[in-house]
């Protein structure tokens, strides 16, 4: 009886959102949505038209997707590793470390728009090739955006220990290094994923914005802008859909990785 109830619950929690999505889709396709928003099929093309464009231009879209992902992933990795290292240093020298983190987390509030053009100027000398230059500029922007959230979260993971576990390490006569290795680092793993949940979507979005300001015209974000400027709204919509897909796929991959890495921890929790 109970399993039947939970199954029904699961079923309804899937049906409601899907029904809602289908409703919106139908309204969009039948142009009811256009009437509501007071717009036309030119600016808000029908889903079928967008799908058509995606399938027609798949090779060109793929090219831009690769160029965007090529920026987002290295930026994400670099930023996360850098943020984690900063967090370790901050956790080792706590008084000055936490103050430094306050300053770093202030970077979170700095608009990316302000960063992107500055960094484009900085990377002018990196290479004579425009593509390499703007690649470097974009990766730096994404790195900065990802560093802050990782360092703040990882610092919490490294320092917010259960009181008894620290005492246990002391009673084992562990030094600072060993405590870091055996206690602090493992303790911070769930916090790393908390940080990544923020920084994975933001890495994609900051890549798109960085592309707006980059010298070299490539990437999904830049295509959205270029197509809007030339008033090709349908193509721009196709790129927007693709951009959403990149974000969603990267997020799903993250959730998968999380379920693998945190598997043992969940079991411990459920035993409790």
């Amino acid at each position: 009886m109970k399993t039947y109830g939970t199954k029904l619950k699961k079923l309804t929690s899937a049906i409601y959102p899907i029904a809602f999505g289908v409703l919106i889709f139908i309204m969009w396709q039948t142009q009811l949505l256009h009437k509501l928003l007071n717009t036309d099929v030119y600016i808000l093309p029908l889903p079928s038209r967008i799908a058509e464009i995606i399938s027609d231009n798949s090779s060109k879209i793929m090219e831009n997707v690769i160029s965007t992902v090529e920026v987002a992933i290295p930026g994400l990795i670099l930023g996360s590793v850098l943020g984690y290292l900063i967090a370790i240093i901050a956790a080792l020298f706590k008084t000055y470390g936490s103050g430094g983190l306050t300053v770093i987390s202030a970077f979170n509030a700095v608009p990316i728009v302000a960063l992107a053009p500055v960094i484009t100027n900085w990377t002018k000398d990196v290479s004579p090739e425009a593509s390499v230059r703007s690649f470097a500029a974009k990766v730096i922007v994404v790195t900065i955006m990802c560093t802050a959230s990782m360092s703040v979260n990882a610092y919490r993971g490294l320092t917010e220990l259960k009181p008894f576990s620290e005492d246990l390490m002391k009673s084992y006569a562990c030094g600072k290094g060993k405590t870091l290795l055996k206690l602090r680092l493992p303790n911070s793993v769930p916090y790393i994923f908390t940080a990544l949940r923020v920084s994975v979507p933001s890495s994609v979005i900051s890549t798109l914005v960085a592309e707006y300001f980059a010298e070299y015209i490539t990437g999904v974000g830049r295509q959205i802008r270029e197509n809007i400027l030339t008033a090709q709204y349908a193509t721009a919509w196709a790129y927007i859909v693709v951009a959403c897909l990149i974000g969603i796929i990267m997020y799903i991959l993250l959730i998968l990785a999380e379920s693998i890495f945190l598997k043992n921890r969940r079991q411990v929790l459920s035993i409790k």
């Binding site: 929690s13 409601y16 959102p17 103050g99 979170n108 509030a109 608009p111 302000a114 809007i228």
Partner: protein
């Protein structure tokens, strides 16, 4: 000695040292850039140069100094960001309330709240501009959308965080639904609500500036792109960079201040704990 140590390890002092350190690094880099580049102000000007340009009364566009111009445009941008932020906050809070009131609403909306985070709203700025047909309106809408989901998800988490015992207590008081919301649920979701606001306040400003860059008119973003194209002195650009960073951080702090003002009882408890 003890006193000195307390000052040296105090939070304010540590932060000041860090800021001083960053300024020193900036100045060293700026000196290097100055000696190697032809147009240092495009890459990394001295901070003194930026401060000078704020206080100089040289007219940039005939009638205004650089800083006056930045302030003028900032007013336009900030008011739009502010309106969008308020609308987004209101919608987010109401949605969270609805989701908590009705299970169906929660089931419908929750997956989409997750999804909306994946959508590059900033990338959609031009489209929204095209739909509304009015740049000022689209700036407000985008700021509202960006504000909306952190507020909604965090407030909902706040509603859910209320302990079972509190619900049971209210049940034993025979409190009705309205009383439960006013007396327990809404007060206890306030810290979560403000976490959402702290995330979204800088985002609303970023969005507002970014949308400015898409079309001319008045606004920090327009000024930024004009200055980058070389229409006026580069220092206007640097002023905007620092100004937007400053208001981004200030908006975050402002939310903290409002939170403290609204929940004085929370502070008391904290200080009592510390003693």
């Amino acid at each position: 000695m003890y006193r000195l140590k307390r000052i040296v390890t105090s939070k304010l002092f540590v932060t000041l040292i860090w800021i001083l350190g960053l300024i020193i690094i900036w100045e060293v880099c700026a000196s290097v850039v100055e000696s190697t580049k032809r147009t240092p102000e495009n890459i990394l000007p001295h901070l003194s140069g930026i401060v000078d340009s704020i206080f100089s009364d040289r007219k940039v566009n005939g009638s205004q100094t650089a800083f006056q111009m930045v302030l003028d445009n900032a007013g336009a941008t900030l008011s739009r960001a502010g309106i969008g932020f308020l609308i987004g906050t209101l919608c987010g809070f109401v949605l969270a309330l609805l989701m908590n009131l009705s299970g169906i609403a929660e089931k419908i909306a929750f997956p989409y709240l997750m999804l909306i985070q994946m959508i590059p709203i900033l990338g959609m700025a031009p489209i929204i501009n095209a739909i509304t047909g009015d740049i000022a309106k689209s700036r407000i809408i985008i700021a509202a959308i960006l504000t909306f989901y952190p507020v909604a998800t965090n407030t909902l988490a706040g509603f859910k965080s209320v302990e079972r015992e509190k619900h049971e207590l209210m049940y034993s008081y025979a409190a009705n639904k309205l009383q439960i919301y006013i007396k327990t649920l809404i007060p206890s979701c306030i810290p979560y609500f403000f976490t959402g606001l702290k995330i979204s306040a800088p985002m609303a400003i970023t969005a507002s500036i970014l949308v400015d860059t898409l079309q001319g008119g008045i606004g920090l973003g327009c000024l930024l792109s004009q200055s980058l194209k070389g229409a006026m002195t580069r220092y206007v650009f640097w002023q905007i960079v620092f100004f937007s960073a400053f208001i981004g951080i200030m908006s975050f702090c402002l939310m903290g201040i409002i939170e403290k003002a609204l929940t004085p009882y929370k502070n008391n408890r904290k200080t009592r704990k510390r003693v």
